[in-house]
Symmetry: C2
Subunit: 207 residues, 2 copies
DNA sequence: GTCTATAAGATGATAGAC
DNA sequence: GTCTATCATCTTATAGAC
């Protein structure tokens, strides 16, 4: 890949994650890449397509980086611990902010929507695979919809990032509360047969 | 309040929620309000301040509309049912989309950040009050941080809206998974003394 | 592939008439 | 309070020289 393309991709991702989508004009990105503004359109057609390509690259790199770590997870509490670490690292790298901007921009731009969907799908697939493995013999697997839960977790990371940006203290409180909720899941998980019976009964009741 | 101000407030809220913050220029809002563009600046100073005022009005109206409904809630499952209804109604009214746009815009604009914080604070206060009342005698109240949990729930609504915009099927799956998780909370809640003991033990273990 | 120059238009905001 | 007119600035995108 040409040097210019690489510089633009990196500059696009950095501009969106640090200054937001609204500030990510062709000129702003090109300036950060120290490249002529017209090259954005020569190489990528439109600004949105450049941002999409940049997002795909970031997601591919990040998921790759965590693949073997995910593979080594065997228990629910290990997964929660890795989730904490991953959230912190990806946040610091600006990748969560990038996804959040894509999600909001994607509400009214089909190219950005495609980028947001792709990013969510990549992370969701990883999370779902680990959840399925870790909860294979748990009573929770019968009751929880792991595909949906994986997606809710990915969405939760993005939601927390947005809250963090406007109310840091609130985001910290929310994250702490969710970790307490994780504890609750572990409790039911540890209940084994008792928990399984209680869950099934509840489920029958509800239908 | 003058007719023009009211028309601008309504038009601003509608423009942001249907077309997004990026399309909410002074001209676009004024056109929807059928009012001269210069009046945006005469009445509100800047576009961001108009959007903030519009958001505050919407939030005040919505919270007021649900106040007595919230007050009538006595059980956890009633609360979950009202949450479903509220989410659906507020979504349809565009108020969740409005909040989502404020959150993402607020990442880099202090005025929008203030509006987003205010909206979150209003809803969080309502949710927390109900949670505290409903879980007063539950083993969950000891373990969960209700203030943080209320904030996480508000953030979750916004996150779901963003996912819905880029991947409707995924959002539906995520919501269904979260309702299953709510079931799980109910199970522990119903366990009474047994659940309380298990939760406390788990909490001790973790520290 | 890269550059300059420029078209064609939108934007926030203001001055000043009424 | 409301209007018109306007400024200065920004935007995407392209044409054409090198």
């Amino acid at each position: 890949m040409s040097d210019t393309r690489a510089k633009l991709l990196d500059a696009a991702a950095r501009t969106v994650s640090t200054d937001g989508l609204a500030a990510a004009s062709a000129r702003a990105i090109a300036a950060r890449a120290q490249v002529n503004q017209a090259l954005v359109f020569y190489h990528f057609g439109t600004v949105a397509e450049l941002v999409e390509a940049a997002s795909r690259q970031r997601v591919a790199d990040s998921v790759e980086h965590y693949r073997e770590r995910f593979g080594a997870i065997t228990t629910l509490s290990e997964l929660l611990a890795l989730g904490r670490e991953l959230h912190e690292r990806e946040r610091a790298a600006g990748n969560v902010a990038l996804m959040a901007q894509l999600m909001s921009g994607g509400q009214h731009d089909p190219v950005l929507a495609r980028a947001a969907r792709h990013a969510m799908d990549c992370w969701t697939a990883e999370v779902q695979a680990v959840l399925t493995r870790v909860l294979a013999s748990s009573p929770l697997a019968d009751v929880l919809d792991l595909a949906g839960l994986a997606r809710a977790i990915t969405a939760g990371f993005i939601g927390l990032e947005l809250v963090e940006g406007v109310d840091p203290a609130g985001a910290t409180a929310a994250l702490a509360a969710l970790e307490r909720l994780g504890l609750l899941v572990e409790v039911v998980n540890d209940l084994g047969a008792v928990g399984r019976r209680a869950l099934r009964a509840k489920l029958r009741n509800r239908r």
